[in-house]
């Protein structure tokens, strides 16, 4: 066991040391929302909301929610409609809709703060409705990452803690009014490393699945410093946890080495499996029950050439569970895997979509894809490689075709990160 841990740590450190400008986290989109989120946009989306990291000296320098018109029939197609700054620069990262899709919760990894945007009163002009500041006091958690709707509540997965700013963390539950309800620590026994990253629910099976990354002390460090610190490099997640959703209790810790990140359940009602990508080892892992009903994690595919550290950072599953988009940050490749057999995914397409790419979101019908560029402020590439954009594409099943691009640096906005789709039809009645 010790040998295995050492090997794993060495492998992790070796991979990271080999990086020039590393990366990590991400999440997406219309096919990847919580199953409790209502009013999915199954036609043409009107807007895309981009949660954007502030950059000192660029515009107001604050984190902000940027709204872009993405309806080809609109006169302002491909243009920035506006933005809402939150008055701080806290490493803006991910977002999630409430179950009624009236509000969009967002947060940064550098602070224990959650921003709640009203997107229903006027979907073209989101407004900051509430700021939740009690997560650290109530839970001790830091760096809220994933916002996952439960009925009437929001399940928030944090990445770190305020005590030592390491990776041991947990999940917090708030009601939709923004009031704290409960906290659940990530398991540190039974093989658990206590780390968190993403979470996703299969309600029909009463299963919550979580993944693991690293803590504030690592993800806020300049990458050049981090990779020289052998001890710090050991502190990355190597587990996923299967939870009893109803009881919110861990049922089984799965060994998934190399920082398993985004989790996507197949949306096909007949399926009962989820897939994830391990960032540091560049592998796809399948999580499903075996013949005895015991949950297992299985490595099922390799993404690019792991020795070259492509660094898969975001995945997006098609609505039928038959295909998976994978963005790899380092080489800027957007890859498509055929998931017809989830036990053996096959890459069938790849295209360079940027010098650095992170998030990928697709429309419900899979015909439109959106890609952004930023991972973490201190981990994005430098110089000319530090492109900051939203790029839109159409997908005809064979080829990605660019449609428009917004240059977030030129527009004085910042680093483009997580995306969510919006629609005029979601205006509250």
């Amino acid at each position: 066991m010790i040998v295995r841990h050492l090997l794993r740590a060495t492998l992790t450190a070796g991979l990271l040391l080999a990086l020039v400008g590393l990366t990590v986290p991400a999440a997406a989109d219309e096919t990847c929302n919580s199953p409790y989120v209502t009013k999915l946009i199954k036609g043409q989306e009107d807007y895309i909301y981009v949660w954007t990291l502030g950059v000192e000296g660029l515009g107001d320098g604050f984190d902000k929610l940027v709204t872009i018109d993405v309806n080809p029939k609109s006169k302002s197609y491909g243009k920035v409609l506006g933005s809402v700054a939150v008055g701080t620069r806290g490493e803006a990262h991910h977002m999630g809709f409430t179950d009624d899709r009236r509000f969009l919760w967002a947060g940064g990894l550098a602070e224990p703060t959650i921003y709640v945007f009203d997107i229903a009163t006027d979907p073209a002009k989101p407004a900051l409705a509430k700021t939740i500041r009690d997560m650290a006091d109530k839970t001790g958690y830091l760096g809220p990452h994933t916002y996952y709707a439960l009925p009437g509540r929001m399940l928030v997965q944090a990445l770190s803690n305020t005590k030592d700013k390491g990776g041991v963390t947990g999940m917090a539950v708030y009601n939709n009014q923004g009031e704290y309800v409960a906290a659940y620590p990530m398991p540190t026994e039974g093989g658990g490393d206590g780390y968190g990253y993403d979470l996703a629910v299969n309600p029909k099976k009463n299963v919550l699945l979580t993944s693991s990354f690293t803590g504030y002390a690592n993800y806020m460090r300049p990458l050049g410093d981090l990779v020289k610190d052998a001890e710090a490099m050991k502190k990355f997640g190597n587990t996923m946890v299967v939870w009893d959703l109803k009881a919110m209790k861990p049922r089984k810790v799965l060994s998934v080495p190399g920082a398993p990140l985004e989790i996507r359940w197949s949306l096909n009602a007949k399926d009962n499996w989820a897939i994830t990508a391990a960032a540091l080892t560049s592998k796809l892992w399948l999580v499903k029950p075996d013949a005895k009903g015991e949950w297992q994690a299985k490595e099922v595919a390799t993404i690019g050439e792991p020795a070259k550290i492509p660094l898969p950072v975001d995945i997006s599953i098609t609505r039928d569970g038959k295909g998976l988009w994978v963005n790899t940050f380092m080489d800027g490749q957007t890859r498509y895997f055929d998931l017809s057999n989830p036990e053996a995914p096959k890459q069938t397409y790849a295209k360079a979509t940027g010098k650095q790419i992170n998030m990928i979101s697709q429309s419900w019908d899979g015909k439109r894809l959106y890609i952004t560029s930023s991972l973490l402020a201190n981990w994005d590439k430098g110089g000319a490689d530090n492109e900051q954009f939203l790029r839109a594409f159409t997908w005809n099943g064979k080829e990605l075709t660019p449609t428009f691009e917004v240059d977030f640096t030129k527009e004085q906005l910042g680093r483009a990160h997580h995306m969510k789709l919006g629609s005029k039809s979601l205006k509250s009645s």
Binding site: P35, Y36, T38, D99, D100, R102, L150, P151, G152, R153, V173, N175, N176, Q177, E179, V181, A182, P203, K204, K205, N206, V207, D244, K246, A247, M248, K249, S428, S429
Partner: protein, 221 residues
């Protein structure tokens, strides 16, 4: 426990009773083994809101009269709903729960069911009487209250307070304009102090999960 499970199974098998517009479709089996009562915690999610409602006799009363002192299972409906995963599902689950609760005197006296319309324009007390049928009067089981409100203005603070999203639109695609309502099913489990302890969606609203949750609340010190 075994007796309750047996009663529940019988209830599902016998779930042939219909309300106005509700087909007698058997409830699907639960696709997992839920945790045993008392092995988990139902946290206090929020306080149930209060406001004026109308009973089947048209008499105004505070909703809190129907959400305090007993464990309450409350579902919003509109009686013309035909979405199988919406109001009809709630009705069928409530209907299946009632005999199971009736079979256990300890539960019968401590639980109530509440069906509250968010469409007061159509769902008058008379319409609710028709919707309820004999269920509002059946003796032997826990009470099942069918409620509505005077107006959309009266129900709005209730649906907002519970976080029950309701959209009313006017469809003009063909024929004369018609009013359409859409909502996503939510059923609320409320403790005797008036705190919401669980919110069920169609994905896990099932008599077995509800009964386990009721037992869990009853096992609290």
């Amino acid at each position: 426990m075994r007796r309750a499970a047996a009663a529940l199974a019988l209830a599902w098998l016998a779930a042939a009773a219909t309300a106005a517009g509700h087909e007698a479709v058997p409830l699907p089996p639960l696709d997992y083994e839920p945790p045993a009562p008392g092995t988990y915690v139902l946290h206090r999610i929020m306080a149930a809101p209060d406001g004026e409602v109308l009973g089947l006799d048209g008499r105004p009363q505070p909703l809190s009269r129907f959400t305090r002192e007993r464990i309450t299972l409350l579902g919003f409906v509109y009686t013309t709903c035909i979405d199988p995963d919406g109001c009809p599902l709630a009705y069928r689950v409530f209907d299946a729960l009632r005999p199971a609760l009736a079979a256990r005197p300890a539960l019968r006296e401590r639980v109530r069911l509440v069906t509250l319309s968010f469409d007061p324009v159509r769902d008058t007390p008379a319409a609710m009487r028709h919707y309820a049928g004999p269920r509002a009067r059946t003796a032997g089981g826990p009470p099942w209250h069918f409620l509505t409100t005077r107006s959309a203005e009266a129900v709005k603070p209730l649906v907002d307070g519970f976080g029950q999203d309701v959209r009313v639109t006017v469809a003009r695609t063909s024929g004369p304009p018609r009013r359409e309502i859409s909502h996503v099913l939510k059923v609320f489990l409320i403790d005797p102090a008036g705190m919401v302890r669980e919110i069920y969606s169609s994905a896990f609203l099932h008599p077995q999960t509800v009964l386990n949750d009721i037992d869990t609340l009853l096992m609290e010190p």
